[in-house]
C-alpha cells in the first residue's frame, strides 16, 4: 500500500517540489515507513530519499529546494527488505539515468535479478522494485527506444504493480504501467498528475482518468497516452469529472474506513498466512524456541491481548505452560532465560509492549514478535520477527488486523502442535460468509445502541472473543460493556442483571450446553439475551446462527462482533473511525 505520485508541469509559479510533498501528505493515510523524491533537471536525475516520516525527511534532506518540471514522489510500506534509506524508492539503474517508483510485488524478481547481475548490473537495495530500472537500462542498451524499453521491462515482470518511471534524456515524460495496484491520472492546466489515489491531487484538478489493468503509457505536461494490450485508448472516453471530497474518495463507497477494513479482512488473512508461510524458517525458529521453553509468556495490549489470550488457551490445551499477560502489568512477572516471550502489537510501536519486552529481555528471555509493520520498534527488539500482512489500517479500532493476528497465531499453533494447517485456507471463505449477515449484526448493534450497559459472555475460545466484542463496543459506540467467562457471571456480575439488561452470548459451538445453562440463568432474571452462535443454537431471545467448519468457527464470529460495534456506533451518531480519547498507536505510558 505505498503512495505514488508523479507530476509534470510547465511554467508553474508554485515549486513542484512543494506540490509533490503536499500530494504525498494526502497519501499518508495509506501508511508508510520511508519517503523518496526524484526530479529531472538539465537532463540529470536527482534523488533524495530516507526512512522516516514525510515531515522529517522533507526537512532533513531539504526536499523543498529540489527543482525541475518533472517529479516523482513515493511513500513506502516495507514488504521486501527492511525500511531503510537505501530500500526507499525511487530506485535507479547503474548509471542513475532511470528512476522508478513502484507499488506491488514482483514474483519473479529473484530470477530477473540473477540474470541482470550476470549481465553486469549492480544492485543497491534489497527491493524487488530495483530490477525495473535495470531492465529498462538493459533493453535500452539493446537499442530500444525509451517507451519500447519500458514496455519490454513491464512485459518481463510477473506480479502486481503500479509503476512510474522517468528517464533522464526525456525530461518531460513520466512512463507508467498498472496491474492490480491502483493508478489514476489527474489532468490540470499545463500540468498532469499520476497517483495511487485521487485525494493526492484533488486540490489541483477533479478531471481524472482511472487506469485499468494492462494500461501502459506516459504523461507529459499537456498530453496523456495510454495503450491497453497494445491498443491505444481514447482518452476522452476514459476522462471523468469527480465531485466529492478527498476523504470520501479513498473509502471506495463505504461510509467509514472501519466498514471497508472489516470487508478487507479476508484478503488481510490470506496475505498474512501466505506471507508467514513464505517465511517458514521464522515459524520453525519460533516453534523451536517455544518447544524448548519452560514457559511461553504472551504479552500484548488491548485487541492484540485478546488475540494473545486465544493463542494461550490453544497452547494450554496442548499442555504448554502458556501465560497471557497484559503488557502494562509486566512488572508483576519475573521471567528467566528459560522463558520465551511472544509479543503482539498491530503497530509494533506500543509502548507498554516495548517496556515489557525490554524488561523480559534483561532477564535473558527470548522474544518472538508478531506485528503488522516490518521492522517496527518491537520487531527490532525481537529474536524472531513474525508479521501479519493486513496492510495499513486507518480506522483506529483494530478490525482486519485482529483477524489477521488470530489467523497468524492459529498457523503458529498448528506448527507447534504438529497439525495439518491446510484447513486455514478456508478462513477467507468463512469471513466472507459471515459478512453476508450484516443485517442481523446491524439489528443487534442498533438495539444495543439504545442501552447503557451490556454483558458479553463466553466460554473457551469464545471468551477472548467476548472480551474483544466488549472492548470494540466500548471503543467506538461508547457503550459500557463487560465480558466475563460465562461460568463466572453468577459469582457477581449477575447482580446487575434486571429486566431488559442485554447479555450477549458468544458461542463457537464447542461448549454450547454449558452456555445454555448460563442463558437460562440470565433469562430467569429477565435479561434480554442475544446469541452469536456457530453450528449449535443457544436458544437466546435473539440469535444469529452461522454454520461453518467447527475448527474455524471463531472466524465466523469475529466479523459479526466487529459489525455489531460498528452499527451501534453509527446509530449513536459517532464516527467509528475516530473514537474519542483513542489513538491508533499507543506510545505513552
Amino acid at each position: 500500500m505505498c503512495g505514488i505520485i508523479g507530476i509534470i508541469a510547465k511554467d508553474k509559479k508554485e515549486a513542484l517540489a512543494s506540490i509533490t510533498v503536499q500530494c504525498l501528505e494526502r497519501l499518508e493515510y495509506r501508511g508508510y515507513d520511508s519517503v523518496g523524491i526524484a526530479s529531472i533537471k538539465n537532463n540529470q536525475i536527482e534523488i533524495r530519499k530516507a526512512k522516516g516520516k514525510l515531515e522529517e525527511v522533507v526537512k532533513k534532506l531539504n526536499i523543498l529546494s529540489m527543482s525541475g518540471d518533472t517529479f516523482l514522489g513515493h511513500t513506502r510500506w516495507a514488504t521486501h527488505g527492511e525500511p531503510t534509506d537505501y530500500n526507499a524508492h525511487p530506485h535507479t539503474d547503474c548509471t542513475n539515468s532511470i528512476a522508478v517508483i513502484h507499488n506491488g510485488t514482483i514474483r519473479n524478481f529473484n530470477e530477473l535479478k540473477e540474470e541482470l547481475i550476470s549481465l553486469g548490473h549492480t544492485f543497491k537495495s534489497e527491493t524487488d522494485t530495483e530490477i525495473i530500472p535495470h531492465l529498462i537500462e538493459e533493453f535500452k542498451k539493446r537499442g530500444m527506444k525509451n517507451f519500447e524499453a519500458f514496455q519490454s521491462a513491464v512485459k518481463a515482470i510477473q506480479g502486481t504493480y503500479a509503476i512510474l518511471a522517468i528517464i533522464k534524456d526525456e525530461e518531460n515524460k513520466i512512463y507508467f504501467a498498472k496491474k492490480d495496484n491502483p493508478l489514476v491520472i489527474g489532468i490540470a492546466d499545463k500540468m498532469n498528475f499520476i497517483s495511487s489515489d485521487i485525494p493526492s491531487f484533488l486540490p489541483y484538478t477533479n478531471k481524472i482518468i482511472i487506469l485499468i489493468d494492462g494500461d501502459i503509457g506516459y504523461i507529459t505536461n499537456k498530453e496523456v497516452y495510454i495503450e491497453n494490450f497494445g491498443k491505444p485508448v481514447k482518452i476522452e472516453d476514459r476522462t471523468k469529472i469527480i465531485t466529492w471530497d478527498a476523504s470520501a474518495a479513498s473509502k471506495e463507497g463505504f461510509e467509514h474506513y472501519m466498514l471497508k477494513e472489516i470487508h478487507e479482512s479476508p484478503i488481510a488473512v490470506e496475505d498474512t498466512i501466505s506471507g508467514m508461510i513464505a517465511e517458514i524458517d521464522k515459524i520453525k525458529e519460533s516453534v523451536k524456541l517455544i518447544n524448548s521453553a519452560r514457559r511461553i509468556i504472551v504479552t500484548a495490549a488491548g485487541t492484540s491481548y485478546h488475540a494473545g489470550l486465544l493463542f494461550s488457551i490453544l497452547l494450554q490445551r496442548e499442555g504448554y505452560n502458556a501465560l497471557p499477560i497484559i503488557a502494562s502489568e509486566y512488572y508483576n512477572l519475573k521471567t528467566t532465560e528459560e522463558d520465551v516471550i511472544l509479543a503482539i502489537s498491530q503497530s509494533g510501536e506500543t509502548l507498554d509492549v516495548i517496556q515489557a519486552i525490554k524488561k523480559f529481555k534483561q532477564n535473558g528471555s527470548s522474544i518472538i514478535s508478531l506485528t503488522n509493520i516490518i521492522e517496527s520498534a518491537i520487531a527490532r527488539e525481537s529474536d524472531v520477527k513474525l508479521y501479519t500482512r493486513a496492510g495499513p489500517e486507518i480506522g483506529v479500532a483494530a478490525t482486519k488486523t485482529f483477524t489477521s493476528q488470530v489467523a497468524a497465531l492459529m498457523l503458529l499453533y498448528n506448527f507447534i502442535s504438529q497439525k495439518d494447517y491446510s484447513y486455514l485456507s478456508k478462513i477467507k471463505e468463512i469471513i466472507r460468509y459471515a459478512l453476508n449477515y450484516q443485517g442481523e449484526a446491524r439489528l443487534i448493534g442498533e438495539e444495543l445502541s439504545t442501552k447503557n450497559n451490556a454483558y458479553y459472555l463466553g466460554r473457551g475460545l469464545s471468551l477472548p472473543l467476548a472480551m474483544e466484542a466488549a472492548l470494540k463496543i466500548k471503543e467506538i459506540a461508547y457503550l459500557h460493556a463487560e465480558a466475563y467467562p460465562a461460568g463466572e457471571s453468577k459469582h457477581g456480575p449477575i447482580a446487575l442483571v434486571e429486566k431488559g439488561f442485554p447479555v450477549i452470548f458468544i458461542n463457537d459451538g464447542e461448549l454450547t450446553e454449558d452456555l445454555q445453562n448460563n442463558v437460562q440463568e440470565m433469562k430467569a432474571r429477565k435479561a434480554i439475551t442475544y446469541g452469536i452462535s456457530v453450528n449449535k443454537k443457544l436458544n437466546t431471545d435473539k440469535e444469529l446462527l452461522l454454520t461453518t467448519d467447527e475448527k474455524l468457527s471463531i472466524f465466523a464470529i469475529i466479523p459479526i462482533i466487529q459489525l455489531i460495534a460498528y452499527y451501534a456506533s453509527v446509530k449513536r451518531g459517532n464516527d467509528p473511525d475516530k473514537p474519542r480519547n483513542l489513538a491508533k498507536t499507543v506510545t505513552v505510558e
Binding site: 489514476v184 485521487i198 482511472i210 470520501a248 463505504f254 479476508p266 466472507r432 453476508n436 450484516q438 453509527v570
Partner: protein
C-alpha cells in the same frame, strides 16, 4: 454519464393508495420521493436523467431538482422492461440505474459514483444490511469479493442504485448476475429506506427528521401563544394558530394551517396546503398536500393522501398491527388520495381505503 430512474412500479405494498397516485410522487417533508434520488444523482455529478414512468406519474411529477431530464413511458412489462425501455435513450456505454422509491442522502449516490470512479470495474452495486421485511428487489451475497444475487443465507440487499454497462437481457437480476465477475460492491451503512409499505413512509419521516434542527421560515405566521419544540421545520406561509403545540420533530409544509390547540408531535410531516382543525393530535403520520383534517381528531401511525377529507372527531387506532417492516407493532390508517372519512369515525388498525 446519464442516470436511468425507475418510477413506474405498481407499488402493490401501498395498495389501494397507489391505485390513485404513483408512490414516487408522494411528498415527504415537502419533496416528492423521486426528488431524493434525483438530488443525490445530481450531487454525484450526473446532470442528465431518463425517468421511466407511466401516464399517472407524468401527471403528478413535480421535479424541483436542477437536473435535465427526459420522461419515457414504460412499454415493456416488469422492472427489466422498464430498464430496457429507458436504456434506449442512453448513448453512453455505462449508466447509473436508480430506483425512484429509495430515500437516502446524496452521499449514498456519491459513494456509488466514487466507488465506480476509483475502481476499474464495469459495474458497481450498492448493498444495504436489512433484517426486517426483506421483500426488497433482491438479496445479495458476497462471494470472493464479488456479489451474487441470491434468495437466502444473507441479510444484504440490493440498495437500489447501481452503475452498470448497457447490455442485452431479458431479466435484470440475471443480468446483474452476469456482471458479477467484473463488478465491485460497497455496503451503505447510512440512512436508507425503500418505500414499499405504509410503514416505510412513516419510518422515512423519522429518518429524515432525526437529525434536523429547527428552521422556521420568516414568512410563516406563528401565533405568539403557539409552542414550538425541537427539530421542527416550518415552511413558507404556514400558519400555526393560537395555543397550537408543534412538539416535533415535525415538518409543517408551505401554506399549511394548524388550528388552535392542536398538537403535532413525534415525526409527523404535514405537507403543503394541509388544513388541520382545532384540538387535533397527530403523531407519526404523513398528511398529504391539501388534505383537510377535521377538529378534535387523533391520527397516529397513519398515511393520509393528498386532497383527502377526514371528518371531525376521527380517531385512528394503531395497535395491535402487523407491519411488514417496522420494529414497532403499530400501524394506523392508510387513506388514499381524494378519499373521505365520515365524521366521528373510529378506524384501524391496518385500515386501508
Amino acid at each position: 454519464m446519464k442516470a436511468l430512474v425507475l418510477a413506474a412500479g405498481k407499488g402493490e405494498g401501498l395498495y389501494p393508495y397507489t391505485k390513485n397516485q404513483q408512490k414516487e410522487t408522494i411528498s415527504i417533508l415537502g419533496k416528492q420521493i423521486i426528488s431524493y434520488a434525483l438530488e443525490g444523482i445530481k450531487k454525484a455529478g450526473v446532470n442528465e436523467a431518463i425517468i421511466v414512468t407511466n401516464d399517472q406519474t407524468k401527471k403528478d411529477l413535480e421535479i424541483n431538482v436542477d437536473i435535465s431530464y427526459e420522461i419515457v413511458n414504460q412499454k415493456t412489462p416488469e422492472i427489466s422492461g422498464a430498464v430496457k425501455d429507458g436504456m434506449e435513450k442512453i448513448d453512453d456505454e455505462t449508466f447509473l440505474l436508480a430506483f425512484g422509491d429509495i430515500i437516502a442522502p446524496p452521499e449514498f449516490y456519491m459513494s456509488l459514483m466514487n466507488s465506480y470512479v476509483t475502481g476499474s470495474s464495469k459495474a458497481v452495486f450498492s448493498l444495504v444490511p436489512v433484517y426486517e421485511g426483506m421483500q426488497t428487489y433482491g438479496l445479495a451475497k458476497i462471494i470472493d469479493n464479488k456479489i451474487e444475487i441470491t434468495k437466502e443465507n444473507t441479510t444484504l440487499a440490493l440498495a437500489g442504485a447501481y452503475i452498470i454497462p448497457k447490455g442485452d437481457f431479458t431479466d435484470l437480476l440475471e443480468y446483474f448476475k452476469s456482471l458479477s465477475n467484473s463488478s465491485r460492491y460497497f455496503i451503505w451503512s447510512g440512512k436508507w429506506i425503500d418505500i414499499g409499505y405504509p410503514e416505510d413512509l412513516i419510518n422515512a419521516i423519522e429518518l429524515l427528521l432525526s437529525d434536523k434542527k429547527t428552521i422556521i421560515s420568516e414568512n410563516a405566521e406563528i401565533s405568539k401563544t403557539a409552542i414550538i419544540g425541537k427539530g421542527i421545520i416550518i415552511d413558507d406561509k404556514a400558519i400555526v394558530d393560537d395555543y397550537a403545540v408543534i412538539k416535533g420533530p415535525a415538518y409543517i409544509g408551505k401554506e399549511a394551517y394548524i388550528g388552535s390547540y392542536s398538537l403535532i408531535r413525534d415525526y409527523t410531516s404535514i405537507e403543503a396546503n394541509v388544513k388541520i382543525g382545532a384540538y387535533t393530535e397527530i403523531t407519526h403520520s404523513l398528511i398529504g398536500e391539501k388534505a383537510e383534517i377535521g377538529s378534535k381528531s387523533y391520527l397516529t401511525f397513519s398515511v393520509v393522501g393528498k386532497n383527502t377529507k377526514i371528518g371531525a372527531s376521527t380517531i385512528t387506532v394503531s395497535y395491535p398491527a402487523n407491519p411488514v417492516r417496522s420494529k414497532e407493532n403499530k400501524l394506523g390508517a392508510l387513506i388514499s388520495p381524494g378519499e373521505e372519512i365520515p365524521h366521528g369515525s373510529i378506524i384501524g388498525p391496518n385500515f386501508k381505503k
